[in-house]
């Protein structure tokens, strides 16, 4: 399979600390790749290095054959790369519906053109569909900041999918989500993968979630890839078990 996203020998150091130490990974079109690892293993730093939030010390990132290393989040978003963050990142004073529209409106037309566009930028119907899909209809007109953590997390994820990105990097989508919603969230992501056809890279600590959602899993420890492959094989890898549980 031709790689869609290809990360080569990515490194990020903070002084003597090597947060990411020579990570190489590739993601194919429509593929869902899981990234696991203990806290502090460099998963989020890897995401931030790929997504232009921080400047990598070395290495390269290619997306659809284009070198996107060091590109700003704005440039990446225009190339169809979306993300969610480890911590909640919603527009707290905007309504849920406006959050979703805001997440996609900048990809419609030109900036001067948007000044004269309809208030919903022609995205109202699509936003309503996403609100329905993420079971947020009853809170659609409330300010996002007034909702529970779990609901805001759902908004956060829905926002990433609003512009139908070609690649989405999800950083701990289950964190803070009610356990009863986790299965629902997994089903939702599976459905979006089928309907929108994008590729996903998912960081997650919930093993059950990642094992069921991702056909390919990478385990990072101390900034390096310790193991990768099908979820069952990674889970059974003695080195992975040792990294999580100790000797």
């Amino acid at each position: 399979m031709t790689p869609f996203l290809e990360v080569k020998d990515m490194k990020k150091s903070y002084g003597a600390i090597k947060a990411v130490d020579g990570v190489t990974l590739s993601v194919g079109p429509g593929e869902i790749v899981g990234v696991i690892g203990p806290n502090g293993s460099g998963k989020t730093t890897l995401f931030n290095s790929i997504l232009g939030q921080i400047k990598p010390t070395a290495g390269s990132v290619e997306f659809c054959g284009e070198n996107i290393t060091g590109m700003s989040p704005l440039e990446l978003s225009r190339r169809g790369v979306g993300r969610t963050f480890q911590t909640l990142q919603v527009f707290v004073k905007l309504s849920v519906r406006d959050n979703l529209i805001a997440a996609a409106q900048e990809f419609k037309g030109t900036m001067p053109g948007r000044l004269f566009a309809s208030p919903d930028a022609g995205l109202g119907q699509h936003a309503d569909q996403m609100i329905e899909l993420f079971r947020l209809k009853h809170v659609a007109n409330l300010p996002a900041g007034s909702l529970s953590y779990g609901q805001q997390k759902l908004i956060d994820i829905a926002m990433a999918f609003m512009p139908a990105p070609r690649l989405v990097l999800l950083d701990e989508p289950c964190a803070g989500v009610n356990p009863s919603l986790v299965d629902e969230l997994r089903a939702l992501l599976g459905e979006l993968n089928k309907t929108q056809g994008g590729s996903f890279v998912v960081i997650e600590h919930n093993m059950d979630f990642i094992m069921k959602l991702c056909p390919h899993v990478i385990c990072m420890v101390e900034g390096k890839v310790l193991a990768e492959g099908p979820p069952a094989a990674v889970q059974a890898n003695p080195q992975v078990l040792e990294a999580y549980l100790g000797n």
């Binding site: 997504l51 939030q53 700003s72 989040p73 704005l74 990446l76 978003s77 225009r78 979306g82 993300r83 963050f85 990142q89 919603v90 527009f91 707290v92 004073k93 905007l94 406006d98 529209i101 805001a102 997440a103 996609a104 409106q105 900048e106 990809f107 419609k108 900036m111 948007r114 000044l115 004269f116 566009a117 208030p119 930028a121 007034s146 926002m159 512009p163």
Partner: protein
């Protein structure tokens, strides 16, 4: 805005239009000043309330607009109608330039950068005597005519300023209801997420400052025509602080917040004058009480009643 709110707004607009008919010249002057002040406050609300940037330099743009009008009208004999867009464009350009520090610093650092700008402009107004008249200011600034009809009288100028602020508010309302308004709010609420969702935070930050500055510049042109005389003291840092107070007291990020806030800042001290020596102290105390109990501004009272708890 629902139908009841639209009706309420229409009634208030009509009442405000009728009120000067029953007032003496000083009352009409205050009501006109409120309209003029509101132009600058609307602009500041765009910068602070909608785009989430800090500015303590709005009076500088108010002054640039006023001095541009005064110089061009008294020294070059230019028409008010020509001066108005020139002042707005100059303030837009200077506002764009002042937006650049906002790309590097935020919050109180940005506040001090804009404060420094206000002080700089004040010093230019005071010290560049040949151009600005220094502390003596510029007098005999003419009022405009509209289709050959003189606006020299207090009432005609009031209605002119009133219609103008309504037009300006309508333009801003349309702008803030467009996707641009949502992008400004996204920038205010979460710039990191905004950028990752394609919002060009550089462009929107600069535009917020530029449009807000242009509004203040327009207000300044009207001020110069209203008072016929300007001097640097009218654009001192304290005026910027009062404008910021107007935005915050009314409800920052709420469209009609600056209206209520400007009423508090412009009219409340006048209403309290019967307290004689105590009126400013009482005004200050009232503002403190308001900020403690309604930190989200006067317009947040409705939300507090609806949702309960803090009205931030």
């Amino acid at each position: 805005m629902n139908n009841a709110q639209k009706l309420g707004l229409a009634v208030l607009l009509v009442l405000y239009a009728l009120l000067p008919q029953f007032l003496k010249s000083y009352g009409i002057y205050l009501m006109t000043l409120l309209c003029v002040y509101l132009m600058a406050a609307f602009g500041l609300n765009l910068i602070v309330g909608y785009a989430g940037q800090m500015s303590i330099g709005q009076a500088a743009f108010y002054g640039i607009g006023a001095y541009t009008a005064a110089i061009l009208m008294t020294k070059l004999g230019m028409s008010f109608w020509l001066v108005l867009p020139i002042a707005a464009i100059i303030c837009f350009a200077v506002g764009l330039a002042l937006g650049f520090p906002a790309l590097r610093v935020q919050h109180h650092y940005l506040a001090f950068a804009t404060l420094g700008f206000n002080v700089l402009v004040f010093l230019v107004m005071r010290n560049e005597e040949k151009l600005t008249g220094g502390t003596f200011g510029i007098a005999n600034i003419p009022r405009p005519t509209l289709f050959g009809y003189s606006l020299d009288g207090a009432l005609p100028f009031f209605y002119f300023a009133y219609a103008s602020v309504i037009i300006l508010a309508a333009v801003l309302w349309w702008l803030l209801r467009s996707p641009w308004g949502r992008a400004f709010a996204a920038l205010r609420d979460n710039p990191i997420r905004a950028e990752s969702t394609g919002v060009n935070i550089t462009a929107y930050t600069l535009l917020a400052f530029a449009i807000g500055a242009a509004c203040a510049g327009i207000g300044g042109v009207y001020l110069s025509a209203l008072v016929n005389f300007i001097e640097p003291g009218q654009f001192h840092l304290s005026v910027s602080l009062m404008m910021l107070l107007a935005v915050i007291v009314g409800g920052s990020g709420r469209f009609f917040g600056p209206v209520l806030g400007s009423v508090v800042v412009i009219l409340l001290p006048e209403w309290l004058r019967f307290l004689q020596d105590w009126y400013l102290a009482i005004f200050g105390f009232a503002v403190i009480v308001l900020m403690v109990f309604l930190p989200g501004g006067l317009l947040s009272l409705a939300d507090r009643l609806k949702f309960g708890g803090s009205a931030r």
